[in-house]
Amino acid sequence: MARVVVEVMLKPEILDPQGQAVQRALPRLGFEGVTDVRQGKRFELELDGPADEAALARVRDMAETFLANTVIEDYTVRVEDAGDTPDLAAAAPAGETAQ
C-alpha cells in the first residue's frame, strides 16, 4: 500500500485563466503581494503494492499518456507515505517531472 501523487500543471506558456481569475480576485479580498497564481490538478493514487521503481514507472506512463495532456501540461510524480493523514501532508523529498 503506497500513495503516489501526480501533480499536473499547465505549461508556463499556456494561458491559465483560472489562475489569473484567482490572482485578480485576491486584492479585492484584501490579499496583496501575490504576483502570480497558477492552478493545476493533483491526483492521489493509492497503489495496492509498494511504490517501487516498477510501480513508479507505471504511474509515470499513466501520467504521460492519460493524467496529463502533454500538449499543454507538465506533470510531476512523487511518493507519499500511505499513512499520511492530511494534516501531515508534507511531501516526500523524491520528486521528478517530465514534460
Partner: protein, 228 residues
Amino acid sequence: MSARVGVVTFPGSLDDRDAQRAVRLAGAEPVPLWHRDRDLKQVDAVILPGGFSYGDYLRCGAIARFSPVMETVIDQARAGMPVLGICNGFQVLCESHLLPGALTRNDHLHFICRDQRLRVERTATPWTSDYTEGQEITVPLKNGEGGYVADERTLDALEAEGRVVFRYLGRNPNGSRRDIAGVCNEAGNVVGLMPHPEHAVEPLTGPTTDGLGFFTSVASSVMRKLVS
C-alpha cells in the same frame, strides 16, 4: 443509395441523437455506433458528437479517447475516412492527436451557450465543401472548455497550411487563440470545431439552418468518392 454516416455514442454523449437527425435531414443514413464496439459497421464517415463523455472528468475527451471504437476511428481517419468532431468530439480528436492543439477552460470561466457567427475559412474538406470560402454562418455554441490553444509554431503552421477551417466572428467567446473555432488535419478529412452545426438544421429549433451544409457536404463528398 445514400452515404452511411456513423455517429458514436460514448457514455455521456448528449448531442448524438441531434447529429443523427442532421444526417437524416441532409439525405444521408445515420448509423449509431457504440463506444465499446470496434466495428464501424461499414460507414463512410464518422461523427463524434457533442456532450460530456465520461462527465468531462479529468479533461474533456480524455477518457473517451481510449474507448475501443476510437481505435478503429483513429485507424480509419489516418486512412482518409471523413471524421467530424463537434464540441466534445473535437476535444476527443485533439486528445487522440488526430488534430493538433487542445481545448482549455473558457477564459471567462463560464459555460456559454449562444448563437455564434463563424467564417468558413476552408471549403476543401469533406465537411465544408457545400460552403463558399469566407461564408459567414451562425450556429449555436455551447461549452465550458472551448478555448483553442496550441503553441505558436503549431498555430503558424495551421495558418500557413490553410488548416484553420472556421474562425469566430465578433467577440471571441472563449479566448481561443487567433479566434480559431475549428481546424482540420493535414489531409483535410478530419475536422473538429467547438460550435454545433447539428443544432442549426431546422428553422423551428435552431437559430438558422446554416449547419445543414456540414451534413450535405459529407453526403455528397462520400457519393462523389464512391462514384469515382
